[in-house]
Amino acid sequence: MYSFDIERPTSVADAVAALADEDAQALGGGQTLIPTLKQRLAMPSKLVSLSGISEMKGISQAGDSLTIGGGSTHGAVAAGAGAYPALAALAGGIGDPAVRNRGTIGGSLANNDPSACYPAAALGSGATIVTNAREIAADDYFQGMFTTALDEGEIVTAVTFPIPEKAAYVKFEQPASRFALVGVFVAKFADGVRVAVTGASEEGVFRWTEAEAALSADFSADALAGLSLSGDGMIGDLHGTGAYRAHLVAVMTKRAVAAAG
């Protein structure tokens, strides 16, 4: 790693102030950022650790929505998001137990790795990303691989998930990294079904609108019969071609619908 200072503010306001410095960078749980720093692929002057900010932690339910502090770890969400079981299950399947004890939902959404799980949950649920400055609808937030609507120095302080009638996330793991080779989040709301796909596209997480239309009309795996995606624009690497990923999207979507019940 290059050398840098580290700060541990205890409030969002202090963190935002600290991030105003040139080349300062926010540190969530660090489970992606620290390996990146080890490879010397980033050169911040200062890291602003968000892990000491208690106002960014915690899970609260209000009516049909669940709000999760951006600093909540995957483990905390797995244990505490029982009101939204598909979300809790997704969190409990990210990485491994030690990673889940450090990695945070805010960090994951800010990074927007094309193979991460949380983007599928946020987009699939139509969540609202809450930052220190504003609220951003998930449909506007994800802007391609590792790209989001966040401005420089903006912090994801919370995420609000509307709780659907039914939902499930099914992931087919890339065997080495155990990230999603393809992950599909299906959520059925009173006004329709949302289907979000991670791991597959070169554009990052996306909604499979054809499947959404079919499932909104008939929420069953059979409703997906005949629907398929093209392998064009899908990620191709040593773990699978674009065509394979496109095929898996259809398979995982069916399985997610079946799992949602």
Partner: protein, 161 residues
């Protein structure tokens, strides 16, 4: 440099660390507690697992500065003061759950975290929990057996056949 103070295996320790000092480096190089190992640089192998405030974390993927004020437990603090192995350590010896020993500190610390939350895990739960701990020697078979046995469940003795 930042001054950090933490409790390691019940003892208060402190030191001056650079911002980029990892917790595992602080343990191994500053405190000369070399029981915690580093087996990869992508946060996957788990040889470096320690407990911070009672939770398993990868000490190679956490800065020492972030552990300021924390309660840290490492492999060196697992046995009794007289050297008697704890239940998990003893089960690893009894069931031959280690060969070269390099992944072992992380395995034992992960197993301890598992059994704290889930005192009687199924075999599938044990295998799932070990997703972040890689062993190249044992094929995991005897590690899983050791953890099941340490949880008080009936596991056939080694080499009974």
């Amino acid at each position: 440099m930042t001054k950090v103070t933490m409790t390691v295996n019940g003892k208060s320790v402190s030191g001056d660390v650079a911002g980029n000092r990892l917790l595992v480096e602080f343990l191994r190089e500053d405190l000369r507690m070399t029981g915690t190992h580093v087996g990869c640089d992508t946060s996957q192998c788990g040889a470096c697992v320690v407990h911070v405030n009672g939770e398993a974390v990868k000490s190679c993927t956490m800065f020492a500065a972030e552990a300021d004020g924390a309660d840290v437990a490492t492999i060196e603090g697992q046995a009794a003061a007289d050297g008697t192995l704890n239940t998990i350590q003893q089960a690893f010896q009894d069931y031959h759950g280690l060969q070269c020993g390099f992944c072992t500190p992380g395995m034992v610390m992960s197993a301890a975290a598992l059994l704290k939350d889930n005192p009687k895990p199924t075999e599938a739960e044990v295998r799932d929990y070990l997703e972040g701990n890689i062993c190249r020697c044992t094929g995991y078979h005897n590690i899983v057996r050791a953890i099941m046995a340490a949880s008080g469940q009936d596991v056939p003795a080694v080499a009974a056949e």
